[in-house]
């Protein structure tokens, strides 16, 4: 015949019970952080900076070209740059889309991308751009990239 015996092992001695609760609380709170935003990502901030510089350079170079020479300022002469920058904006959009709690930043990128496409289309339709329009586009984009940069940098703790 096999006898079995159950032995109860107390997890906490009666006097130490409140201490157990306290330790549990510590464990819970050590994991508990309030998260309203995604973690800061330095590679994304770097990409925002690089894309902003690229956009600024693109418009400054266009401004340097003789406005009377329609061919030099034509859409076809700079379509590669338009597409390269749009591709960077698409990449920023995708990288930010998969980050949780990131709807505000995603919205800023979406507005920037839509306006970039709009200005590209306007250039394509008009075939050339005046100094005034180039400067207006440059200033609008500068404002948007500044906003995008703030939205990422503020996530840094």
């Amino acid at each position: 015949m096999v006898y079995t015996k159950t032995v109860k092992v107390p997890l906490f001695k009666p006097g130490l019970l409140p201490l157990g609760y306290l330790l549990s609380c510590i464990l819970i709170f050590s994991q508990c952080r309030v998260h309203l935003l995604p973690e800061f990502d330095s590679s994304i901030l770097e990409q925002i900076d690089q894309t902003a510089k690229r956009v600024d350079k693109f418009y400054l170079e266009l401004l340097e070209l003789d406005p009377a020479n329609i061919h030099k300022r034509s859409y076809s002469s700079c379509s590669d740059s338009y597409i390269a920058i749009q591709s960077e904006l698409n990449s920023l959009y995708i990288k930010n889309k998969i980050r949780p709690l990131n709807k505000n930043t995603l919205s800023i990128i979406e507005i920037t991308r839509n306006l970039w496409i709009k200005y590209k289309t306007e250039h394509k339709q008009a075939q050339t751009l005046t100094n005034g329009i180039i400067e207006l586009n440059r200033q609008s984009m500068e404002e948007l990239f500044y906003t995008m940069r703030i939205a990422e940098k503020v996530k840094k703790q």
């Binding site: 201490l19 306290l22 330790l23 609380c25 510590i26 709170f29 050590s30 508990c32 952080r33 309030v34 998260h35 309203l36 935003l37 505000n104 930043t105 919205s107 800023i108 507005i111 920037t112 839509n114 306006l115 709009k118 005046t130 005034g132 329009i133 400067e135 207006l136 200033q139 609008s140 404002e143 948007l144 906003t147 995008m148 703030i150 939205a151 503020v154 996530k155 703790q157």
Partner: protein, 109 residues
Amino acid sequence: METINMNEVITDMLAAMKSSVSHHWKEIKESMQQFLAARKARFELLAELRISGELSQEHFESRLQDEKLIAEAEMQALEVISKAMAQNAANAAIDIFQKAVGAAIKTVL
């Protein structure tokens, strides 16, 4: 060519903002002044291009829609700033609580 007194226009814009928010004006006055100051150069350029005819009425209105989108993007950034501040404040409070409990345990042990 016709010119535009942008300072006068900005003052009128502030007056319009003030009348639309009435009682809350004191709370937002500074932010609204900054909002307009940041746009002053772009609004000046926009007005200049429309007056000179470089921008058609249709394109001018389209650019005003763009300004609304840029303002929307800035509101989104302000929301991120508010969330970051709230997150930091809440975590700082939890840290203090955690340290206080840790200190209490040390005295018990």
